[in-house]
């Protein structure tokens, strides 16, 4: 195992990545075909990495659980992608993007990583445009920008409300080009279930063919995980139904540290939950907050009235009232907490769930008056249509209702500056790692990070790892390979043949989800977290006693797929609560009720908690390792958005 060392370069911040790149070892073009790399997951990070490594000449084998790489959940990102091009001449710069990102993350991430991300942001836009990504443009033919959640400059590039889709299709196209060239061999509908480690190095994976149930092993010189986040631990989230933690959790159980698992983002602008049959929540792009105004009735008696019958003086534009400087554009964590506060006061609107109305209004009426309905349609048309099709209400006539929902996970596998985990030869990119967003991610930064990792960072650092290592031949009958296959098979056996099969995977998923939502969601406290830890332990043993999977394991069996994923979510949920308990401060999305100011703002404790919590898996319970965060270039400040 590599040492727990961030490997951050020294020297002036502006030169660190350039200097580091120069120090990385290279492999000559004619030798690259001798190296094999496995990439798990082909969303933005994975597809861009496959494309780039393929173009460079390496042999890549990639897997995804979807029926095509084009369907990864990156596709659902709506709002946009940030880049410090400063096309709008509004004072943007690499430094400002860097500062906004580190401040937005409440000073719980590395300076060096974020500065590199800000530097690479401009290359991403160039790359995407050259691939034919149809970004929004002005009549002059120049690229358009908009301002987006939590920033005071217009640096967000967008393709209507489908930026993620267009960027993913760009990366998928480039990856497809490399599949055609033969350098990338891709298999869809395959799920990684185990990592193969030989002499301390990640050397391969065990995957299950989701159609036939066949278990197979694949070996290589190193493995990169681009497997996304774990918001689905909450059951109801904005993530696609298939998104899961299984790959990252397998890595964790094999020695990769898991960093800041409790840092999960609850996004403020989602369609509110409606009832028990609901299987997922839908995000309405944050860009709506640029023009829309958020309000709740001032009086509880007005909550069941039609919003159009509530006069102006009866409306509380609470974000504008509480945060006059940023108003409706405050960062996500702050907006979500404010929304929850209003609903907890009893001033929510919409359908009643568990005796509470969960929703506030997002109102476009004044904008429609000002801009005209056509302009609003051009800017937000597809989002309005989506809202209408989900709720059956017309947002051009009645204000939309929104409520926060789990959306993104800042936590993930701990990685060093080279994006390598604590397992030698195991890298993690995109949402699967913890690296850049600290305790809260700013809007339009996820696409930026996934693509920076995949197009520009990992291709360099993976090559360095390959160049510096020696890789003895590993065959598919190596004892470690056989052991990994056996462990996968015996786990599947346990899922198929529980002692007292009684409940479906969804039953357990909803259970763990509701525990986490209540104790480790938007507001957390010691007592609730301690209870949650105990309930999850009980749930885990109940799961292995009572999980009921019908059908056969040698077949296309979605129930079995779900069961395996839920088992991992339960274990991860346990660690999320332990991490939230350990962090006796509030920062970013992590709001411990004991450490909130009266205004509701997070009270950070830099002296005692200015670290990344990296958890090592241990049969007797997780062990905490701390990576102290040193701020050499900026001074952590109080996040004041008032």
């Amino acid at each position: 195992m590599q040492k727990f060392n961030s490997n951050v370069p020294t020297g002036p911040l502006e030169n660190r990545w350039e200097k580091h790149k120069f120090d990385l070892a290279l492999i000559a073009p004619q030798n690259r075909k001798k190296y094999n790399v496995i990439v798990i997951g082909t969303g933005l990070a994975g597809a861009s990495l496959c494309a780039t490594l393929g173009e460079a000449g390496y042999n890549i084998q990639s897997f995804c659980y979807n029926d095509s790489p084009r369907r990864a959940h990156s596709i659902a990102a709506q709002g946009g992608v940030n880049a410090s091009k400063n096309y709008q001449n509004d004072g943007d710069s690499t430094w400002r993007l860097f500062y906004d990102t580190i401040k937005g993350g409440d000073f719980r991430a590395r300076e060096s990583n974020i500065y590199r991300l800000a530097q690479l942001s401009c290359n991403i836009i160039d790359q995407a445009v050259s691939q034919g990504v149809p970004f929004a443009r002005e009549y002059s033919g120049y690229l358009a920008n908009r301002s987006f959640g939590g920033t005071q400059v217009s640096r967000t590039f967008y393709a209507r409300g489908q930026t993620g889709q267009q960027l993913l299709l760009g990366a998928y196209g480039s990856m497809s080009k490399e599949i055609a060239s033969g350098r990338v061999k891709h298999t869809s509908r395959s799920e990684m279930l185990e990592i193969i480690i030989i002499n301390g190095k990640a050397r391969g994976v065990v995957v299950r063919d989701l159609i036939t149930g066949e278990i197979s092993s694949h070996v290589a010189d190193c493995v990169v995980m681009c497997t996304g986040g774990y918001s689905n631990a909450y059951f109801l989230s904005t993530n696609a139904k298939g998104c899961n933690t299984s790959a990252t959790w397998r890595a964790h159980k094999n020695g990769a540290y898991f960093a800041n698992p409790s840092f999960t983002q609850i996004h403020p602008t989602c369609v509110p939950p409606t009832g028990d049959s609901q299987s997922k929540l839908t995000l309405m792009s944050e860009s709506l907050r640029n023009d829309g105004r958020i309000w709740a009735p001032k009086n509880i008696e007005d909550c069941d009235k039609s919003p159009n019958d509530i006069p102006e003086e009866g409306r509380d534009y609470f974000l504008e009232r509480m945060y006059p400087a940023f108003a409706n554009l405050v960062p996500r964590d702050i907006a979500s907490r404010a929304l929850k506060g209003i609903c907890d006061e009893g001033r929510g609107v919409g359908s009643i769930i568990n005796d509470q109305r969960l929703g506030v209004y997002l109102d476009f009426s004044s904008v429609i008056e000002k801009m005209g309905i056509d302009k609003v349609k051009e800017k937000y048309g597809n989002l309005f249509d989506m809202y209408k099709s989900i709720t059956g209400e017309n947002p051009y006539e009645v204000p939309m209702k929104i409520y926060p929902a789990p959306h993104y996970t800042m936590g993930g596998l701990w990685v060093d500056y080279n994006l390598m985990t604590t397992i030698d030869g195991l890298f993690a990119c995109g949402e699967a790692n913890f690296s850049d967003h600290g305790a809260n991610r700013l809007g339009a930064s996820a696409l930026m990070q996934g693509l920076a990792d995949g197009y520009f960072i990992a291709p360099q650092t993976v090559a360095n790892y390959l160049a510096r290592g020696k890789f003895e031949e590993v065959s598919n009958d190596h004892p470690e390979v056989m052991a990994s296959i056996d462990s996968v098979k015996s786990r599947i056996d346990k899922l198929m043949n529980a002692p007292k099969p009684k409940h479906s995977p969804d039953y357990f998923h909803r259970k763990v989800g509701s525990i986490l939502w209540a104790a480790c969601g938007m507001a957390r406290d010691k007592k609730a977290l301690e209870e949650a830890v105990k309930s999850i332990e009980k749930l885990k043993s109940k799961f292995w006693q009572n999980i009921k999977v019908t059908g056969s394991d040698a077949d296309f069996n979605q129930t079995l797929e779900k069961a395996g994923r839920v088992a991992d979510f339960i274990e991860l949920g346990h660690l999320m609560c332990i991490d939230a308990l350990d962090r006796e401060e509030s920062c970013g999305a992590h709001a411990r009720l004991e450490y909130l100011a009266e205004s509701g703002d997070a009270m950070r404790d830099d002296e005692n908690y200015g670290y990344v919590a990296a958890w090592e898996f241990n049969e007797n319970g997780p062990e905490l390792h701390k990576e102290e965060l040193n701020f050499e270039f900026i001074k952590p400040t109080y996040r004041d958005y008032k």
Binding site: E55, N66, D67, S68, P69, R70, R71, A72, I75, A76, Y87, C122, I125, D126, Q127, V129, S130, Q131, G132, P134, F135, R137, E138, S140, G141, L143, A159, R160, Q165, Q166, L169, G173, S174, S176, K177, I179, A180, S188, A240, K241, G242, T274, G275, D276, S277, S279, L283, D385, M386, S389, S504, D506, K548, T550, G551, D555, F556, N557, Q558, T559
Partner: protein, 240 residues
């Protein structure tokens, strides 16, 4: 709400399939169509039976994974909608629902309602991209693009690759899918350079995969969840 469902069940690609009838009860009108199927599957697990396999992922109409022909209509009768965005309130008066997979020989059925659409991936691999490598891109604003062209390219680029156009076409043609990708790039200066070669290769691959040709039925644009116009097919034909 209560519904009678006739669902296509098929063990695997090589076996025969048939409709099996199920009843679901007490469905809330705000339940989505796929959640209604989730509900059925929960009941099947209770009874110890194998669940109905159907494809889904994002459940917000953008990933293109879900399919299903419902009472003869790919993605149901509602316009500009994917199956995952259908709600049972839309089916108030249709108590009997016939649910089938996409039917096209180039989309073999894997099990029950799930089909294999890798033929679409291979068509993209044959040329559905701009041949640029990472690192060689010029500054993004160095090439200006007329807004109308950019918007038009976007309209074509919104294709989610679901395959409804194939499922509805009497010829099982993938022309709309192929043409949308060709037109997306044809509209952009950085994509136009390879247009002719791209069109030839993609159409060739489409034929090799066993998809039929377009004979102007135009059913594809009526079922397309992203409302991609058949005018894309005219642009494609002009390139040949």
């Amino acid at each position: 709400m209560n519904f009678t469902l006739h669902i296509w069940r098929q063990k695997n690609t090589n076996s025969d399939g048939s409709f099996v009838t199920y009843h679901v009860e007490n469905i809330d009108s705000d339940t989505s169509f796929l959640e209604m199927l989730d509900h059925l599957n929960e009941k099947l697990i209770e009874k110890g039976e194998d669940c109905v396999v159907f494809d889904y992922d994002c459940r917000e109409g953008i990933c293109g994974t879900c399919s299903l022909v419902i009472n003869g209509h790919p993605h149901g009768e509602k316009k500009a909608t994917t199956t995952c965005q259908l709600y049972m309130r839309d089916y108030a008066n249709q108590r009997e629902l016939w649910i089938e997979p996409w039917r096209a020989s180039s989309f073999p059925i894997m099990k029950d309602l799930a089909v294999k659409r890798e033929a679409f991936d291979r068509i993209i691999q044959s040329g559905g991209f701009i041949s640029v490598s990472v690192g060689s891109a010029p500054e993004a604003n160095s090439q200006l693009i007329n807004k109308d062209d950019a918007d038009c390219a976007f309209d074509s680029a919104t294709c989610i690759g679901c395959g409804a156009c194939v499922a509805v076409c009497p010829n099982a043609s993938a022309s709309l899918f192929v043409a949308a990708k060709i037109n997306h790039f044809e509209r952009l200066p950085q994509g136009k350079i390879e247009s002719k070669r791209r069109a030839e290769r993609m159409i060739n691959q489409m034929e090799e995969e066993g998809f039929g040709s377009c004979s102007n039925h135009r059913h594809c644009e009526t079922v397309c969840p992203k409302e991609i116009s058949v005018s894309n097919i005219a642009t494609m034909n002009n390139l040949l």
